[in-house]
């Protein structure tokens, strides 16, 4: 299903001493079914906010998001695993009709044996892998990945990267990947959108090969 994002205006309200700020104005993006699109840009430009809006978690804006496909898988910047549920229970929660598959997913992200561990015992890399398994276990039509490889060591980052690549190929969800890093975007996505400025606007939108050449 094609996803059409059009934001007329999104304002961040004033907070403490910080004045109100227009985050987006007349921003339009269209994603083809199964397309993997990376969004890059400097910190604070609004990449994560855009994902929140696409997920329907932030509806406080003028504009529309059409074709927000379900099921939705969302890998947040922090893993957001429920600390009072074990790894297995965290997965079972989102796939109640196939609880038996939780164990398979845990094995697929390389954490076999950690099924009955509480998330606070996991390292950030492990927790993020569980969160990725949770996002993929719902067999998403739309997958949102917010900085999936941030603050991971090189080896863990590579492992996560391979994992994402394999499952993107297998499940073929329409995917929005937010990242700071060009090489991550180029390795996983077919299209890269660069946001910049305030209000944020699209300064570049092209298939990966051209984008890489332009770099």
């Amino acid at each position: 299903m094609t996803i059409r994002i059009h934001i007329d205006r999104k304002i961040y309200p004033a907070q403490a001493c910080a004045p109100a700020r227009v985050l987006f104005e007349n921003l339009s993006v269209e994603l083809e079914d199964g397309e993997v699109c990376a969004i890059v840009g400097p910190s604070g430009v609004g990449k994560s906010s855009l994902l929140q809006m696409v997920a329907g978690l932030d509806r406080d804006f003028a504009g529309s998001i059409e074709g927000g496909a379900q099921p939705l898988g969302y890998l947040f910047q922090s893993p957001r695993l429920l600390p009072w549920r074990t790894v297995r229970q965290n997965l079972e929660l989102v796939m109640p009709e196939h609880p038996g598959r939780a164990k398979d997913w845990i094995a697929q992200v390389g954490l076999a044996g950690s099924e009955d561990v509480y998330p606070q015992r996991l390292s950030i890399g492990m927790a993020r892998r569980v969160a990725l398994a949770r996002a993929l276990a719902v067999e998403p039509k739309l997958l949102l990945l917010d900085e999936p490889f941030a603050s991971l060591d090189e080896e863990t980052s590579k492992g996560m990267h391979d994992l994402v690549a394999v499952h993107l190929k297998k499940l073929r969800p329409t995917t929005l990947l937010v990242t700071h890093h060009w090489h991550e975007a180029a390795a996983l996505a077919r299209r890269v959108i660069t946001l910049d400025g305030s209000p944020a606007r699209i300064v570049d939108d092209q298939p990966v090969r051209q984008a890489r050449a332009a770099e």
Binding site: A55, L57, Q70, R80, R85, L93, V94, Y118
Partner: protein
């Protein structure tokens, strides 16, 4: 290491209680006054009251009242507290009411409910609940304010639905606050129930305490108090502690 700590902690607790009883016996023996009986005399009175059925009957009546008031206060207080914590406009409107009710003396509430509703069971339950609901509401309001939006968003993204969100996301976060409110609630409610019984009921531990107070029968006053404290300790041991262990399992 931890198991050993717990075991030694358990022994220390028992030893501490035994030491307290021994000291009490020694001091009461030295005092040689019928107004300051030792633990053995109190236990004899307790056994005698238990034999003729008075102790179990009055204890049962009071425990039933405590139970019903406790449930009313906890459910109503929790609902009110969560509403205050989640909706700022409700909090702005009703915070002053809460402060007023928190500071109205328990005795005034008891007297007024007896005057308005009569010396009936309903008046007792209303008086106890009114005294406790504001405390529960304040505790749960803090809990509701501390709810982490991140987890609610997870529930939204994965479409958990209202019941699952409540059971899996909201209640686990509120559990420590519910436990604190329940513990404080029980401690406060049984004390208020005794006062309410003393003022206007013809049965229950509060009524018995008043009767034996008029007779200056201190061993029996202490026998009823001790029996009730034992019941509350049992509730702590069999209900609150296991619940606390269960909800805090993931923190260990």
């Amino acid at each position: 290491m931890r198991a050993a700590d717990v075991r030694s902690g358990g022994w220390q607790g028992i030893a501490s209680v035994l030491l307290f009883l021994a000291l009490w016996q020694i001091v009461s023996g030295a005092a040689e006054s019928r107004l300051f009986p030792g633990p053995l005399t109190v236990m004899q009175s307790m056994a005698s009251e238990a034999r003729d059925g008075a102790l179990p009957y009055h204890l049962g009546v009071t425990l039933a009242r405590v139970g019903v008031s406790f449930v009313i206060a906890l459910v109503a207080g929790a609902a009110l507290g969560i509403a205050l914590g989640r909706f700022r406009w409700i909090d702005r409107w009703f915070h002053p009411w809460l402060v007023i009710f928190l500071n109205v003396p328990a005795l005034v509430v008891i007297i007024l409910t007896y005057i308005w509703l009569g010396l009936v069971e309903t008046a007792l339950l209303v008086a106890v609940a009114l005294n406790k609901i504001p405390n529960v509401a304040v505790t749960l309001r803090e809990g509701a304010r501390a709810l982490d939006k991140d987890y609610t968003e997870v529930a939204q993204v994965y479409r958990l639905g209202a019941v699952k969100t409540l059971r899996e996301i909201i209640v686990p976060q509120l559990a420590p606050y519910l436990l604190a409110a329940a513990r404080n609630g029980l401690a406060l409610i049984w004390k208020i129930v005794l006062v309410v019984e003393l003022l206007g009921r013809s049965n229950g531990v509060g009524f018995q305490l008043q009767s034996y107070f008029q007779l200056f029968d201190v061993p029996r006053v202490l026998a009823y108090a001790a029996a009730f404290v034992c019941c509350v300790l049992l509730i702590e041991l069999l209900v609150f502690s296991p619940f606390e262990r269960r909800v805090g399992q993931w923190r260990r």
